[in-house]
Amino acid sequence: QSTRSACPSCGGPTLAPQGERALVLELAKKQILEGLHLTSRPRVTRPLPQAALARALRRLQPRSVAPGNQEEVISFATIVDKSTSTYRCMLTFQLSPLRSHHLYHARLWLHVSPSFPGSLYLRIFRCGTRNCRGSRTFLAEHRMTSSGWHALTLPSSGLRSEHSGVVKLQLDYRRPDPNSTVVPRPRRLLDTEGQLRPFLELKIRANEPGAGRARRR
């Protein structure tokens, strides 16, 4: 407490400047965590490659987030598994925000490597949390005719995350000509490391309290 005059608002003793600054910093932490509905600050265990982050942010819509309680999320594939089959690739994403939010827009960004063999059909399936052998849900089919980044729209209804927040996608390749069996190994098709890692671009909004119940007029 400083010997300066009393607090202009409450008449109590005023804080010394460094005491006031420390209080302001604590207030700022509290205000930001409350504003983001977080109970504690996130611990960054897997720092993202800056180049991948910058590249991904450039892909987002240039405009700011739409007003209201809507958010945009970029989620990089945490596990890319190409060992299952030569025509197949598995992507795993951690999406706990989807547990408490309504997803209304989803796109999967894939980077096709320059050694691309002409046009190719890609089919995308949603798998159960553990694996794809049992149940998998067809999400979308896209035809790609060039290398580079491709934004593939997915049905948002197909990405409701399990309680664990894990979303597994399986990518199957086939050429337009059903007779041709020659398909280059997926490892030459998709770039999955570093700044060319696949990522999901999602738009979500907080669930209205009592969402889903008839709104009483």
Binding site: P8, Q31, I32, L36, P42, L57, E72, V73, I74, P97
Partner: protein
């Protein structure tokens, strides 16, 4: 709204810029680098009651009520935010996803007497 000078007794807006580096949070808050944590403080004597520094008609309505009822009301008027704006944040969540969101009413822009 006047920005508070060190010894301003009347209702004003006290400005503080908080750099996220100072909080040790620049590893998970990607954008912006900081924000203005402003708050309202100061006295609201009767003749300032209802003067939010914006809507004079509200002030005159309250003032005439004060005169009509009694010159020294029991309750007192408080210095409160009268205009606030959202803060756009880009941050890493617990899963390492990048989230872009607008936090409503984060920055106090104007103060006034209730």
């Amino acid at each position: 709204t006047p920005t508070c000078a060190p010894e301003t007794p009347l209702c004003c807006r006290r400005d503080h810029y908080v750099d996220f580096q100072e909080l040790g949070w620049r590893d998970w808050i990607l954008q912006p680098e900081g924000y203005h944590l402003n708050y309202c403080s100061g006295q609201c004597p009767p003749h300032l009651a209802g003067s939010p520094g914006i809507a004079a008609s509200f002030h005159s309505a309250v003032f005439s009520l004060l005169k009509a009822n009694n010159p020294w009301p029991a309750g007192s008027s408080c210095c409160v935010p009268t205009a606030r704006r959202p803060l756009s944040l880009l941050y890493l969540d617990h899963d390492g996803n990048v989230v872009k969101t607008d936090v409503p009413d984060m920055v106090v822009e104007a103060c006034g007497c209730s």
